[in-house]
């Protein structure tokens, strides 16, 4: 039976309208090509709005000693030497340019007294480096880019859920999606596809990520045949809200610590002096998150299972001026006045360091015609991400992916696929609409609970194996999942589709975590507590006939001159 769908032709298709997707679309448009941007939610609601702290860019406005080499060194050290050196270099060098560009688009950063962009201290950055707009930097970025998207007449389809990337002759050449608010299917025919769908934080129960971050891009790219990398590296943010239960996991920006907040356990002890005497609260996120976790585990936590974060010493005016949305967040969600009381915090899932393996300069993935940028791409952050580097990442590599895709598309002819491909996909989706299907939310709940319980901040072989077992069971159950209703704005159906991607992401995370028998960065194995020299490697994941295929690939060695920028690795 022939299915009805709309066909939309374009040069470049951008999936995702967060910071990376928008910046990529602008870059394609600037290159003079036709671009279509699709997003799962509304324009300007992407997870980028949740970014609070700022953009890491070595402007040296506050600390003049800062330059890209120091930033580069910080990235490599924080990524525990498994970052891609080329990406780190590009990011450190280009971030200031992107900040100025953003300013020319209309963003207004906080200023120093002499009128330059103000920079704040952040965890594990050598110097004060984060250009910020109070604590709503992400909002400023997304609204500024949204403005550009609208005024540059970029075509966009919001509430469009992409279910499949179309591949022909080993080339990505479009995608199939369902427009949620009308229930219509769309086939996007494109010369190249940029995936900028963000991370997969929602595969965990306690997460700071928004509803959208279900790892859709990972699933799409994996199914299309692209290689994923470093999936075991999931960043836990040390400070997420604990109480009330409804907001558990909600992010408390690192800026609170950057502005002088200190961490205390229930005995009133500033325990970070024990864990990290030099950098204290502003050490790398993995260090602080593990410290918080340990304090809570060892019984020095609060009654709701958290530790205290205290910024009261800074005075009410300062807090309200510098951390307005944190003040509001605690006032309205928890009824806590942070200018007078301590906050309760606990680690929460924050970021996915791994993702689609891309070429540093262009963002081209291993699949021809498929590009990736932002959180869904991997390489820059290695084993752990520096705070503020994600915003630098989306702007720098979003633009690069846009330019890369535009260059690529100029030399490619239109690839048409048989309508059968589209019809088959629509049929597959129709299969989810049934009466007796299992409730997708129930399965998602089981999956996220399993991930939080077994592949959390501290991992062991037995625990991870438990998670893998549950994932395998859920994969069986997934065959019977389904929802009532129609195609039009059906969250149940969406849950079914997302679950498929979440299963791919979780399988990749847990099996890669099982493979990496060492503790490095965000990945901590109790049974292998030491860093292992033999694991100076990346785990790459590819779709094979038998399921997921894992390859261990050594990290590309950086040139001699770059080695001096970062401290040599110690074991």
């Amino acid at each position: 039976m022939e299915e009805t769908f709309k066909t939309i032709k374009t040069d470049v298709l951008v999936i995702g309208a967060g910071g990376a997707g928008m910046r990529a679309s602008i870059a394609v448009k600037e290159a003079g090509l036709d671009v279509v941007m699709v997003t799962k939610s509304l324009l300007g609601k992407a997870h980028t709005v949740m970014a609070e702290g700022g953009i890491a860019a070595a402007l040296g406005n506050v600390d003049p000693q800062d330059n890209w080499k120091v930033h580069y060194g910080d990235i490599i050290e924080e990524g525990v030497y498994i970052s891609n050196w080329k990406m780190a270099e590009i990011c450190a060098k280009e971030a200031p340019e992107r900040v100025f560009e953003l300013e020319s688009y209309g963003a207004l950063f906080d200023r120093t007294p002499d009128g330059r962009i103000l920079q704040r201290a952040f965890g594990a950055h050598t110097y004060r480096r984060l250009c910020h707009v109070g604590d709503r930097t992400g909002l400023e970025i997304i609204k500024t880019l949204e403005d550009q998207i609208l005024h540059r007449d970029v075509k966009f389809y919001d509430e469009m859920y992409i279910t499949k990337i179309v591949v022909k002759n080993g080339k990505a050449c479009g995608a199939i999606g369902i427009k949620m608010n009308t229930g219509e299917f769309h086939y996007f025919q494109a010369k190249s596809v940029i995936v900028a769908t963000g991370g997969c934080g929602r595969v965990y129960k306690v997460t700071s990520n928004s509803w959208e971050s279900t790892g859709d891009g990972l699933g799409l790219a994996y199914e299309a045949g692209a290689v994923l990398k470093d999936m075991e590296m999931i960043q836990f943010h040390p400070t997420g809200m604990v109480y009330p239960p409804g907001v558990k996991g909600l992010l408390i920006t690192e800026a609170v610590r950057g502005e002088g907040g200190i961490l205390l356990n229930s005995k009133g002890e500033r325990y970070m002096l024990r864990y990290s005497p030099q950098k204290k609260e502003l050490d790398a996120r993995d260090v602080v998150a593990r410290a918080n976790y340990r304090e809570i585990q060892e019984g020095r936590g609060t009654e709701h299972g958290g530790v205290y974060l205290d910024i009261t010493s800074k005075g009410a005016d300062y807090i309200k001026h510098k951390l307005p949305s944190m003040y509001m967040q605690f006032m309205e969600f928890a009824g806590v006045d942070i200018t007078k009381e301590k906050m309760e915090v606990a680690p929460t899932v924050h970021y996915q360091m791994g993702g689609i393996r891309v070429e540093p300069e262009t963002g081209h993935s291993s699949l021809e015609g498929l590009f990736a940028a932002g959180e869904v791409a991997s390489g820059l952050h290695g084993a752990n991400r520096l705070g503020g580097n994600s915003l630098a990442d989306i702007l720098v590599f979003g633009r690069r992916a846009g330019i890369g895709a535009a260059e690529y598309s100029k030399n490619v002819k239109d690839i048409e696929v048989d309508t059968k491909v589209v019809n088959d996909e629509i049929k597959r989706i129709k299969g989810f609409l049934r009466k007796d299907g299992k409730n997708p939310y129930e399965l998602i709940d089981r999956l996220t609970t399993a991930m939080s319980d077994h592949v959390g901040i501290v991992r062991t072989k037995e625990e991870i194996e438990k998670a893998i077992k549950i994932i395998n069971e859920l994969k069986e159950d997934y065959k019977n999942v389904g929802s009532l209703g129609s195609f039009k704005y059906n969250h149940g159906l969406l849950g079914c589709l997302e679950l498929g991607n979440m299963l791919i992401a979780t399988e990749a995370i847990s099996r890669a975590a099982l493979m990496r028998e060492e503790s490095r960065g965000a990945h901590t194995r109790v049974d292998f507590p030491k860093k292992d020299k033999n694991w100076l490697k990346n785990i790459e994941i590819k779709k094979a006939n038998s399921g997921m295929q894992f390859d261990v690939v050594p990290v590309e060695e950086m040139p001699e001159e770059y080695k001096q920028y970062a401290k040599p690795e110690e074991y």
Partner: protein, 250 residues
């Protein structure tokens, strides 16, 4: 507190022509917000319930609805602040798509019309701006585009005019009051944006979840600027003389 009686507006345009309120019982959890209750219905009772939500932290502005007849964000309205008889309706100013989801795409075409940020040409980079000059525009940039102000605005809701609505006045003001912007959008807002239709009744300011002083700081300021350019003969003469001077300087 005991169970919550949650009335949710249900409307499926494929099956019916008018919507209806359906009542659900939802167990109360400490510190619960309305979105938690609505999500409970979606996850445990009826997965086909259509809602929009993203961040659940009052940062994205997706979950706008009329809670107990007051336009509010579902994720920001705590159940214990409004009691356990709760009604949730979609925004009334926009066409309903399904259940609590409304079509707000009209806003994109309005945003497209507002002239974009235009910096002074030929400024030396990096730009320098005094920290205090940032403050005014920054207030408007807090806007999360939840469109609650648009929803509560009686001009948008009840009358068919060319008025853009509070959100777009804030957008224009954020660029007008940007220290390095050279355009003056007030005349445009008066001619095209219908700022004259606003009668300062300040409901938008009341419901704004980001507590932006929409009327006082954005709309009235723009009205006064428009008056400078269009109504006040003395100001018009001064302005004209000034701009002539500037031209000479250039």
């Amino acid at each position: 507190m005991t169970d919550i009686n949650l009335k949710i507006y249900r409307f499926n345009p494929e099956e019916e022509s008018v919507g209806k309120f359906v009542e659900y019982k939802v167990p109360y959890v400490d510190g619960m917000v309305v979105l938690d209750a609505v999500r409970y219905v979606q996850e445990k009772i009826d997965p086909t319930l259509a809602i929009r939500w993203n961040c659940k932290a009052a940062k994205c502005g997706s979950c706008s609805a009329e809670i107990n007849n007051r336009p509010s964000l579902m994720c920001k309205t705590r159940v214990d602040s409004i009691g356990n008889n709760i009604s949730v309706a979609p925004m009334g100013a926009y066409p309903n798509i399904k259940d609590l989801v409304t079509d707000i795409s009209a806003n994109w075409s309005i945003l497209k019309k507002i002239p974009p940020f235009t910096p002074k040409p030929g400024m030396e980079k990096p730009w320098r701006i005094h920290p205090a000059d940032v403050e005014r525009s920054k207030e408007f940039k807090k806007c999360i585009e939840c469109f609650l102000c648009q929803d509560v605005c009686h001009v948008i809701r009840e009358h068919n005019t060319k008025y853009f609505g509070p959100r777009h006045m804030v957008k224009a003001a954020s660029m007008d009051m940007h220290p390095l912007d050279v355009l003056d959008r007030s005349e445009f807002l008066d001619d095209e944006g219908g700022i004259g239709f606003c009668n300062i009744t300040k409901c938008c300011q009341d419901v704004c979840p980001e507590h932006i002083h929409i009327t006082d700081n954005a709309i009235i300021q723009e009205k006064e600027r428009a008056a400078d350019l269009k109504y006040d003969p003395i100001a018009m003469i001064i302005k004209r003389r000034k701009s002539r001077k500037e031209k000479v300087v250039k």
